[in-house]
């Protein structure tokens, strides 16, 4: 549908065109005036669309049907005006709303829009008046002087705008200069001097034309000449003069020139200038004066019109020249170092002097000439030295010397430098020596002594633990009271010494240590404990080396804390290397570290931990000694008690043993009478016979039955005993020390223990005796064992048990069981063997018994061959010795009386202990 309408429209369009073709080759149905207008931005504009009469008839179209369009946008109808049947106008109040193309269209049949005509519209601005016109004549060669003029072209016009530089003489014009590529400058290739030229700029475009204000000038007044060339520098006769010569590239009739000459020392960046008034006239050479001898200078020159109208040329290329040598202006600064290790009579003097600075040397120093004069003796000759280095070491006898040094170059010799080396630095030193850092320099100041000082020598050196102090030095005039030291490194310690030099001697040096800049120490001190107590610890540390300090150590700070406690801080004087921490908690882990502080910060050393002691010094002693003493006292008291109450004790623990000889059993043996003599130490009854008693009883065979019945309750005891020692030691262990005490303490608890010990003794003795010696009378001894005593006291108990032969047998069986290996023979036979034993054997036995317990004399055992004596010995040897003997002897008869009754039960009881 839509496409069909398009086709129809196109066909109509074709018709219209054909129609126009018929009217003429280029005739269309209408046209717009003006054709392709150029409009000023912001102005108003009216266009007319005029229809051709011919088309009116054909297409039946009229001006009222005209539609104006800008690009594809229809212009509002309000801006249209139908002037007559064929003409329609459109008016725009502001051209800025316009765009290209503006078309005139017609609405044919009220439906189809047909383009009639279109125009291109250009909108722009008229040129502004060019401003700031200025010109300069650049000299390009000796005869080429193009003039370049520049101006401000003003605002952008959006149109093609032509700029023309116009110039003319009063009555003659020149062709315009038309700029290429730019719109703000133009160069006139050839210019004529000395005739006033009027110059202006004309800007023109489709909308108008504008001219700048004219510039009237003589081009000679705006010349920037070429700089002089072929500059050459020649040294003159004088060492302070250099002569410059050059060529000008502008001839004198054209322009008279004045000049600027600048120069600098080679390597320096600051230019100096020859006073302009000296070079204000035309010339081609100039002598620069007041230069330093033997110095390389760089020169450069420029020129301009003499009257100062115009422009300076560029600076010429630089040329260098060197002034000739001159005598050194001053003597080299001189100083000495006298070796500290000089002998009494001779000095090693190092004379040192500084090479002159280039501006002082005024040339190449060929040599130094030194003279040394001994002032103390007038007759001594002048010593002369010519050296090329800057030091000289001399061995001189002690004295006062005057040293002079002269520097010589090819132009001559310097004035002499004189140094007086006095025998001693006895004069007044400087006062109030101090330092102050100033940026990268260290200022050293002092207060002058009262007397007149010729000059000062300032020595300084870097103090380091790694290297020696290499002395640097410099001199200062006598009227100054401070200098700046250069080349001082920050964070390093310097030792600075100032010596005043007088006309007749030298003051002693005053020293000060200084830092240019301080930093915090490079490490902290390592702290250690020297001694740790209960509440205090002695800390010790080493000073930081001077290289580590980086500044003056103002203080040390000790920081210590327990693991969970607060840190405690102590500040310590920097001169100390030891400090005692007090009020510490005992037996506590402390962490301590140490910080060294300079003015600029501090640094901590490594942590160190220590633990305080649990007890203070002497505390253990204070506890242990009284305890020991108390223990000893108790022992003593116990012993005394035992001694005092021995009767009682004896009664309870060691009751009287009945005399076997008086026993009824004695009657069983034919040797009874012999036993009566046992107290008289009859050899027939040695101690071995006592042991035999037990042995005799160990006849019973039924060991099993015994162990089943009676042994059980004593199992624990048995074990203890059996683990403790062999039989012989059992005797010892139960003797003296242990047995009595045990008896005392155990007596209250029950008889079992007492009995045990006593019984053990017996039984053990018997056993040993049995093995080593030949038993004699078995029966008699067996009746005298302790069970008898028990039977006295506990008659009722024994009676209850006494009848049991089986028990008795068990007991013996037990005893015998221990000796099973060698107890093949009946015990009776063995006891008999004892009687045959020689006396030596017996003695050996006694010894054996006693050896572990005391130093009882051998003779004691010898005297007491009776069993009682042996017993008492065993019991009390360590405490009482022989004094016990009479009593034991006396006791025997007592027990003898009661013996028969208790014999059997006794064996039963003994059986309970025998398992040992």
């Amino acid at each position: 549908m839509f496409s069909r309408w398009n086709w129809v429209a196109c066909g109509f369009c074709l018709l219209l065109n054909i129609c126009s073709l018929e009217g003429g080759l280029v005739q269309s149905c209408g046209h717009i005036i003006p054709e392709s207008p150029v409009l000023a931005l912001g102005s108003n504009f009216t266009a007319l669309c005029i229809l051709n009469e011919s088309c009116l008839d054909f297409g039946n179209i009229y001006a009222s049907q005209i539609i104006w369009k800008i690009k594809n946008r229809v212009v509002p109808k309000e801006q249209y005006r139908e002037i007559n049947r064929t003409v329609s106008s459109v008016t725009f109040n502001d051209t800025s709303s316009l765009a290209t193309p503006l078309t005139c269209n017609i609405l044919a049949d009220g439906q189809f829009e047909q383009n009639i005509y279109g125009i291109t519209i250009t909108v722009g601005l008229p040129p502004e008046k060019p401003k700031n016109l200025s010109c300069i004549v650049h000299q390009l060669s000796q005869l080429t002087y193009p003039m370049t003029c520049t101006w401000n072209p003003g605002r952008h016009t959006f149109l093609d705008t032509q700029f023309r530089l116009k110039y003319r003489w009063a009555r003659e014009s020149f062709p315009d200069c038309i700029p290429t590529d730019v719109n703000n400058s133009c160069t006139i290739p050839d210019i004529h001097f000395f005739v006033n030229l009027e110059i202006w700029v004309e800007a023109a475009n489709a909308l108008g034309k504008a001219e700048s204000d004219p510039l009237v000038l003589d081009p000679i007044d705006i010349v920037k000449p070429l700089s002089p060339h072929n500059l050459s520098v020649n040294s003159g006769i004088l060492p302070t003069v250099l002569k410059l010569s050059w060529e000008n590239r502008i001839s004198d009739p054209v322009m008279k020139l004045k000049f600027n000459i600048r120069y600098r020392i080679a390597g320096d960046t600051n230019w100096m200038e020859v006073p302009p008034e000296d070079t204000a006239s035309p010339r081609t050479s100039f002598s620069v004066q007041g230069l330093r001898p033997y110095t390389e200078y760089v020169f450069s020159i420029r020129c301009m019109k003499e009257d100062g109208v115009g422009y300076w040329s560029d600076w010429s290329e630089e040329k260098t020249g060197i002034t000739t040598e001159d005598k050194p202006s001053k003597g080299p600064p001189l100083w000495r170092i006298i070796d500290a290790c000089h002998s009494a009579a001779f000095w090693t003097v190092h004379l040192i002097w500084k090479a002159l600075k280039p501006y002082e040397a005024n040339g190449v120093i060929l040599q130094y000439e030194l003279t040394v004069r001994d002032k103390s003796s007038l007759s001594s000759p002048l010593e002369k030295f010519n050296v090329t280095s800057t030091n000289l070491t001399l061995q001189l006898p002690n004295g006062t010397y005057e040293v002079t040094v002269i520097a010589r170059n090819s132009a001559g010799a310097s004035p002499p430098s004189v140094l007086l080396i006095p025998a001693s630095n006895s004069k007044a030193p400087v006062k109030n020596l101090r330092t102050l850092p100033k940026y990268d320099k260290l200022w050293v100041g002092w207060t002058a002594p009262n007397s007149y000082v010729l000059k000062y020598v300032i020595e300084w050196c870097l103090v380091s633990s790694r290297s020696d102090c290499i002395i640097e030095w410099q001199t200062a005039l006598g009227d100054v009271q401070g200098i700046d030291l250069k080349g001082i490194k920050p964070f390093k310690c310097y030792l600075i010494t100032v010596y005043p030099l007088y006309a007749d001697g030298q003051g002693s040096g005053q020293s000060v240590k200084a830092y240019l800049k301080q930093d915090r120490p490079s490490k902290g001190p390592t702290v250690q404990t020297k001694k740790v107590g209960k509440a205090e610890a002695v800390l010790t540390w080493n000073h930081l080396t001077v290289d580590e300090q980086n500044g003056f150590i103002r203080n040390y700070t000790i920081l210590y804390k327990t693991i969970d406690g607060n840190e405690t801080v102590v500040t310590v004087d920097p001169s100390k290397t030891e400090y005692t921490l007090s009020s510490l908690t005992s037996d506590t882990l402390y962490t301590v570290r140490m910080m060294a502080s300079t003015d600029n910060g501090s640094r901590s050393g490594p942590d160190f931990t220590f633990t305080t002691q649990k007890f203070g010094k002497g505390e253990i002693e204070a506890i242990v000694v009284p305890v020991c003493l108390a223990f000893l006292l108790i022992v003593l008291l116990a012993v005394l008690f035992c001694f005092n109450k021995r009767d009682l004790i004896k009664k309870h623990i060691w009751p009287m043993v009945p005399d076997p000889s008086k026993s009824n059993i004695a009657q069983w043996s034919p040797q009874v009478p012999a036993k009566h003599n046992f107290s008289s130490k009859d050899q027939m009854y040695p101690e071995g016979s006592f042991t035999d008693v037990s042995v005799v009883e160990i006849e019973a065979d039924d060991k099993k039955s015994f162990s089943e019945q009676d042994l059980k309750p004593f199992d624990l005891l048995k074990k203890e005993k059996s683990t403790s020692e062999g039989h012989s030691s059992g005797i010892g262990g139960s003797s003296c020390m242990s047995s009595p005490r045990q008896s005392v303490s155990d007596s209250d608890d029950g008889e079992t223990t007492q009995n045990t010990s006593s019984t053990v003794q017996y039984s053990t003795v018997v056993l040993n005796g049995y093995r080593d010696q030949t038993p004699v009378q078995v029966f008699s001894r067996s009746e005298s064992t302790q069970p008898l005593l028990d039977s006295e006291e506990r008659s009722e108990d024994h009676t209850g048990e006494g009848d049991s032969t089986a028990e008795r047998q068990q007991y013996f069986r037990q005893n015998g069981g221990q000796d099973e290996t060698n107890a093949d023979r009946p015990c009776f036979e063995r006891t008999k063997q004892i009687t045959h034993a020689n006396e030596g054997d017996l003695v050996g036995f006694v010894q054996l018994q006693i050896a572990g317990q005391s130093s009882q004399p051998l003779g004691l055992g010898m005297e007491k061959n009776t069993q009682e004596a042996a017993l008492s010995n065993v019991l009390q040897a360590s405490t009482e010795g022989q004094t016990v003997r009479p009593e034991t002897v006396e006791e025997n008869p007592l027990s003898v009386d009661e013996m028969p009754k208790s014999y059997l039960p006794q064996t039963v009881r003994q059986g309970g202990y025998m398992p040992q």
Binding site: W169, A170, D190, F193, F194, V195, N196, I220, D252, P253
Partner: protein
């Protein structure tokens, strides 16, 4: 009373000074300046001609480029205005007459020079000749300017160059060129003297007064 009167008068006089001389002198200053400028220009042209003549005579070749070449002035060369007037006679002329003579001479010389310009073969020489011609044109204008500023009437426009027949042969033509350059040199030399003299005549005192007045 009298002293007050005198003081007031002096004050008034001084107050008026800046205005009056400045107005009167602007013309004087312009003249002085243009005389100086014209003098500079003659010196500049002299300088230019010196190099130009050397180059051109070399271009003409021997014997014209020989330093002691001094040919007799031919009758046909008379059309070139001659500066060979007696110096005293020349000095006896008025400024106006001298300026007018200069003006006329340079106008004529310029015409011949432009003819010369068209014949020169080398571009470099032609360029320099053109430059010289332009400068000489400037001189004519300057002299005119000086004359008008001094209130002298400008002489009538240069008469049409006499229709002298062009030199029959090359040598004669070269001779013409030689004499043209030689006369130019003489004229420029004498003009420089003229303007120097004229420069001194126009009192610099006026300038001084003006400066003083400004300073006041």
């Amino acid at each position: 009373g009298d002293s007050w009167g005198i003081f007031t008068f002096l004050c008034a006089a001084l107050c008026n000074l800046p205005a009056l001389p400045a107005l009167n002198c602007s013309e004087e200053l312009g003249t002085s300046q243009s005389i100086q400028q014209t003098y500079d220009l003659t010196r500049y042209l002299e300088h230019q001609l010196r190099t130009l003549a050397g180059t051109y005579l070399n271009y003409l070749g021997p014997p014209f480029n020989e330093p002691d070449f001094n040919p007799p002035r031919l009758a046909r060369a008379e059309r070139v205005p001659s500066a060979t007037v007696d110096l005293d006679l020349w000095r006896g002329l008025t400024d106006n007459a001298r300026l007018a003579a200069n003006y006329r001479a340079y106008s004529r010389l310029l015409c011949y020079l432009r003819v010369l310009d068209g014949q020169v073969g080398t571009a470099e020489l032609r360029h320099r000749l053109a430059h010289f011609c332009a400068s000489l044109q400037g001189l004519v204008l300057s002299i005119g300017g000086v004359m008008s500023s001094l209130g002298y009437p400008l002489p009538a426009g240069p008469p049409a160059p006499p229709g002298a027949p062009p030199a029959s042969n090359d040598f004669l033509k070269k001779m013409d060129d030689f004499w043209l350059l030689k006369e130019l040199q003489t004229w420029l030399w004498r003009s420089a003297k003229d303007f120097n003299r004229l420069k001194k005549k126009v009192p610099p005192a006026v300038v001084t007064l003006r400066l003083e007045a400004r300073g006041f």
